[in-house]
Symmetry: C2
Subunit: 157 residues, 2 copies
């Protein structure tokens, strides 16, 4: 039986488990259990429930892009020729590996992307060759991040 709650209300225990694991997914269940004063089995049951409900998407190893030569983070405001070209543009942008986020949005831009590149040469190549080649894109505005001052997940508490 599939659960359909799109908005399941987490209790205190669920929230605390998530809060701990969101910042460090490799903490053992037994240690979490000790902190929250429940048994390891309970942590397991709760995690399984939240996985089934789709609350937990998975886990990521977080790397430092700069250490492996990816120095530039940029945001791209994208203007489409027509709004109807959205789905098509998404499909084409999925093939551009440097695009790590893409949003359909309100306001000035039709779409909004986050891209990560090695250097300015790489960025120019992505903008001029890959992005501009996408059909339906009229023009873009680039915002280059000089420093990422905050980078975290939402706080549940």
């Amino acid at each position: 039986m599939e659960k359909r709650n799109d908005n399941y209300e987490l209790d205190n225990l669920d929230t605390q488990i998530l809060s701990i694991l969101m910042n460090n997914a490799s903490i053992p269940y037994t240690e979490i259990a000790k902190k929250l004063i429940v048994s390891g089995g309970t942590i397991h049951v709760r995690m399984k429930k939240m996985e089934e409900l789709g609350i937990i998407r998975g886990s990521h190893l977080i790397i430092n892009p700069q250490k492996i030569g990816f120095d530039i983070t940029a945001f791209l405001g994208i203007y489409l020729e027509k709004g109807s070209q959205y789905n098509n543009a998404v499909e084409q942008l999925k093939r551009v590996k440097e695009v790590v986020e893409l949003h359909y949005c309100t306001g000035t831009y039709s779409m909004f992307a986050k891209i990560i590149c090695r250097d300015t040469t790489h960025l120019r190549k992505v903008l001029n060759e890959d992005i501009q080649a996408v059909k339906g894109i009229q023009r873009t505005e680039t915002i280059i991040s000089l420093e990422e001052s905050i980078k975290r997940q939402i706080s549940l508490t």
Copy 2:
């Protein structure tokens, strides 16, 4: 002895290990070893090396914000009164939990933030009370994401 390579060149094996774990940090080392046709110990040695080099930042449990009632993702272009107020503004914005990313950037805006809220009421509260209370912020422009079409990490290959 601390290593100081800010730009260590990963070999093929390192790259493949990271590529696998970036999408699912809970895959066992032994399974990765099988895929890449090396021993489990080798994976371990490589991971340890990359951790020491600071390439690996840690691991995160990824949750689906919408499933727990956080429905709105918005981007905020921030205009500062003076550029010199940057450090101060960062410190104040760190206290606003809904801000999950903050960049110091080129272009139209002085700073650029990503925020996640429960609903429009929550968003308005954050914008009007929390953000506007930050000293040095002149005004902001809000871009609301209606749909996140792409969300992934950088591809190493």
